[in-house]
Amino acid sequence: MPRLSLWLVRTALIWLGIGQTLGGLVLANKGLPLLPWLWTLRSSHIHILLIGWTVQLAFGVAFWILPRLGGGSRGNERLVALCYATLNLGVLLAALHDPLASLVGLDALWPLPVLTGLCYVVAAAAFLIHAFPRVLPLPTLPTEKP
């Protein structure tokens, strides 16, 4: 597994643990209402598991196993590094939004969703530009003539 895939997959696993733990708190609080504030973690739970875990895991595995370009290259790795940084910044900002909004109010936090959206689009675009040329048919081996 290449080093960038290692970073993407391990970070995805960390988000999986965090997202599932937050989801567990929300679910337990649904059954035994102790702290109403815990409900604000629901949106963080969804963002973390959908983007931080599922999408990031797919990126990590795709970077690892998609066909390589000429010379065994995996293409432009800087784009994948940019994708990694912006995707995780986006997930972090999205995860903080609702819990913070419940403490300081929505008005002060308007830049967070804007930045989150921007980060997600940059991450997706960077990965698309990286991966598109690697979606290739398998090379065919020359066949022997009868």
Partner: protein
Amino acid sequence: MYPQARIFIRTALIYLLLAFLVGALVLVNQGLDLNPRIGALQPVFYHLLMVGWATQLICGVALWMFPSFSREQPHGDQRLGWITYGGLNIGLLLRVVAEPLLAWTGAAGWGWALAVSALLQVVAIWAFIAAIWPRVKVRPTFRGKPSG
């Protein structure tokens, strides 16, 4: 494919059908207004699909295909995989039963069942992380050849 991964993936496929059956029921109810109680099944549908199908399929494929833990133990400590399987499925099934019943009856016992379901699923996921973490690794280099 080794037996543990097969069990994960086959169970995930069963959840896919269950999730779509519940999802279809929720959609039919939205259109035909059969019974207002059916609306309480919406979170059950989401979690059957995302935990029972997607997460469990990912766990099965990752346990099967990720780099070997070691030559002697290619899949690592399989007990962690079984804790994942047991916790995820018992926790999810408990939720499938308890969440709508809590909404319909309000009985406190179902609330406790939801808390137990949450705990089981959290333990399951951390067990999966513990199982797969050492197998997320860069290929070791041999005789100076580059890794990757």
